[in-house]
């Protein structure tokens, strides 16, 4: 996997030249590559056969703040990209920089030159090339050395019209010993028709930085295809807590990589997904240790209803020189409907001795004995199911350590469960009869 940093660019290249060269090189790849499909373990395939790519276009919008529910009104900054345009930027804390990436390429030359695409090669497939070639607007975040933020930085990617192609790029730089919370939201209205979000995200946590990062995806009932790559690099003694939350999208194919790059770096990665209807979710995450004395902790939990499909594959990769690593990965998937299908695949590549790495994965169902038990206490079946699923997710939700966002997640999960009540009842009934 081409995750190594690219060689440093010659200094004379300006940031704009760097971005433009990358666009040109990526465009060639994008045009040459066919529509991809992803295969896993022989029977799992993610294809884009249903996507009419030619019918989509990057829609432009003028400034304006759409109505949003972000769980938290207190913020250090808010930036909103709707379709292909940044439509709102609100900076409340002058110590930091939050602006469109297009603007930062000009105004923060050196930072962009040093970080842009360092961990995001443009040749990792058609859509990463497409994103490299076509991104517009974009988000740039810089929390300088030593700055500690109390309030979160909020980023919103909004698609509210069918026919939209959103090519996204976020570059976040958190300086030495800086501390911050970053939340990216991916929101759609319940439109009819197709749309694409093809995204790139990169975050660099400099030595000693503390970053609390969350991605909240809820594309709604529209047919949104989300093909994204997100990478986080953690340097010496820095720590990143990353919570990706997937609550909706017609088809999602994402690669999420965390790289503990230098000794003392630590990551905690906690994911949650809930799929319904005909949604298809294909997630690949990696916990990559490039240095010794690094630590990691990955927990993913999902629940599936309807005829949805969800596949999670989580890799722990410890490269040869990285000894004294301590990491683990757990993944669980809960089926709530007879027609849903899920898998949970933990895997391990360890190229060195003297490390601690463990992993485990389960796919399960609601336990009818637990439901029966709760009902004998007067709790209705629907309520019992809700409580069980919420309890199942609670471990993950609490790791958010963000009351506003926690509440948002709990509420959305409850709404989705309410919508799936009949299926769940049928499923539990079937299970009870089968035993």
């Amino acid at each position: 996997m081409p995750l190594e940093p690219s060689p440093a660019q010659p200094v004379e290249d300006s940031a704009s030249a760097l971005v433009d060269d990358r666009r040109r090189a990526a465009l060639e790849i994008y045009e040459a590559e066919p529509l991809p499909s992803w295969r896993r373990s022989g029977f799992w395939t993610t294809t884009l056969r249903g996507l009419d790519l030619d019918a989509l276009e990057p829609k432009r919008y003028g400034p304006g703040l759409p109505e949003l529910d972000l769980g938290d009104d207190e913020r250090a900054a808010l930036i909103v990209q709707r379709g292909a345009s940044v439509v709102h930027t609100d900076l409340q804390d002058e110590r930091i920089v939050v602006m469109p990436l297009e603007q930062a390429v000009v105004e923060h030359e050196q930072l962009v030159r040093e970080h842009f695409a360092k961990r995001l090669p443009h040749d990792e497939g058609k859509f990463s090339a497409g994103t490299a070639a076509f991104w517009t607007g974009g988000v740039f975040i810089h929390v300088p050395k030593g700055v500690r933020l109390e309030k979160p930085i909020q980023v919103v990617w909004l698609i509210d019209e069918p026919g939209t192609a959103q090519w996204a790029h976020t570059l976040a730089i958190v300086g030495e010993l800086a501390e911050c919370r970053i939340r990216e939201f991916f929101l759609g209205s319940d439109f009819e028709g197709q749309a694409l979000h093809s995204g790139a995200f990169e975050l660099y946590a400099h030595p000693g930085a503390q970053v609390d990062l969350a991605h909240y995806q809820d594309w709604g009932r529209g047919e949104v295809y989300d093909l994204s790559t997100r990478r986080v690099e953690i340097r010496r003694d820095a720590r990143v807590k990353w919570v990706p939350i997937h609550l909706g999208g017609r088809l999602t194919r994402q690669t999420l990589d965390i790289i503990t790059a230098e000794p003392g770096s630590d990551m905690k990665h906690t994911g949650l997904y809930f799929t319904e209807r005909e949604e298809h979710l294909d997630l690949f995450t990696s916990d990559r240790h490039e240095a010794g004395h690094t630590t990691g902790d990955t927990v993913w939990k999902g629940a599936l209803t309807g005829e949805s499909r969800a596949s999670y594959e989580g890799l722990i990769h410890i490269i040869p020189k990285a000894s004294e690593v301590d990491t683990y990965l757990q993944t669980h998937s809960m089926l709530l409907s007879p027609k849903a299908k899920g898998d949970a695949i933990p895997s391990l590549i360890v190229e060195v001795d003297n490390v601690k790495a463990s992993h485990g994965g389960t796919v399960g169902e609601l336990d009818p004995d637990q439901i029966f038990y709760m009902m004998t206490r007067g709790v209705s079946r629907a309520e019992a199911v809700r409580v069980m699923v919420e309890g199942y997710f609670e471990e993950v939700v609490q790791r958010l350590e963000d009351p506003g966002l926690e509440e948002l997640v709990r509420r959305r999960v409850a709404e989705k469960l309410h919508g799936a009540e009949d299926q769940v009842r049928e499923f539990i009934g079937e299970r009870a009869e089968a035993t």
Partner: protein
């Protein structure tokens, strides 16, 4: 007010376990249902509560005059029936306190006031010698056998049902825990409440004196009497009952 079990036949899978059980528990009464392993005791308890793994093929269960044979477990609970489980389920992510509040509110129009709930919980925890920290743990997760049984009796004390079925609540308890649990049950005894204690052993009956004892063997109640029947059973064992039954049939 009474709990009536009328000619109850119950099947699980392809096998009939109960072959016509009749039993009436009036409020204010303490009944013990005793039987060896495999006699159908737990089947009866689970059927009373509406466990979907058990199918009633004939007979009825009537609670306070209302036929609840086909009712869902939550409806039975709200109608005033309670069971303390032999093997209670673990409810991850839900604390003991939250679970209790949810269960109490399930049977009420208006949710219980926080203060009232706190006071009631405090009182009952004292009764069962349960530590305060216990209530913030997830229900039954990592609980010892004794803690699980105490948590069941705590629920009984909080929910104040009309009729309580205790399924092998004494099994797996050491003598101190048994005494605490028995004290809890005795404190719950009232003219307004009926009990059905299901047990293999007579041990718990040394602490909780039954008014009536029924012996269940092979899915039928074969002998009934007062507290003295339990003593006799303690002395002579289930084989004696089987012989008596065989002699009676001959």
């Amino acid at each position: 007010m009474k709990l009536e079990i009328q000619n109850l036949h119950v099947r699980t899978g392809e096998r009939e376990i109960l072959h016509g059980v009749d039993l009436v528990v009036n409020k204010g009464e303490m009944h013990a249902l005793m039987g060896p392993n495999g006699s159908g005791k737990s089947t009866l308890a689970n059927t009373l509560m509406g466990n979907p793994n058990y199918e009633v093929t004939a007979g009825r269960i009537v609670l306070n005059g209302e036929d609840i044979t086909e009712a869902d477990p939550d409806e039975r609970a709200r109608a005033g029936l309670f069971m303390a489980f032999q093997y209670p389920a673990t409810i991850p992510g839900v604390s003991v306190a939250n679970f209790l509040r949810m269960a109490m509110n399930a049977g009420r129009e208006e949710p219980i006031k926080v203060k009232e709930f706190g006071a009631l919980l405090g009182k009952n925890m004292e009764l069962l010698k349960i530590d305060r920290a216990f209530t913030s743990r997830y229900l039954n997760e990592g609980f010892s056998g004794g803690e699980k049984k105490r948590a069941e009796i705590l629920q009984l004390a909080m929910l104040q049902p009309d009729f309580a079925v205790l399924d092998e609540t004494d099994s797996g308890l050491d003598i101190d825990a048994l005494r605490i649990v028995s004290d809890g049950v005795n404190a719950m005894r009232s003219a307004e409440r009926g009990f059905l204690i299901i047990t293999h052993y007579t041990r718990i009956l040394n602490y909780v004196k039954p008014d009536f004892v029924h012996i269940l063997i092979d899915g039928r109640i074969v002998q009934e009497g007062g507290a003295e029947l339990a003593d006799e059973l303690e002395e002579k064992g289930y084989e004696w009952v089987r012989e008596e039954v065989a002699a009676g049939a001959a």
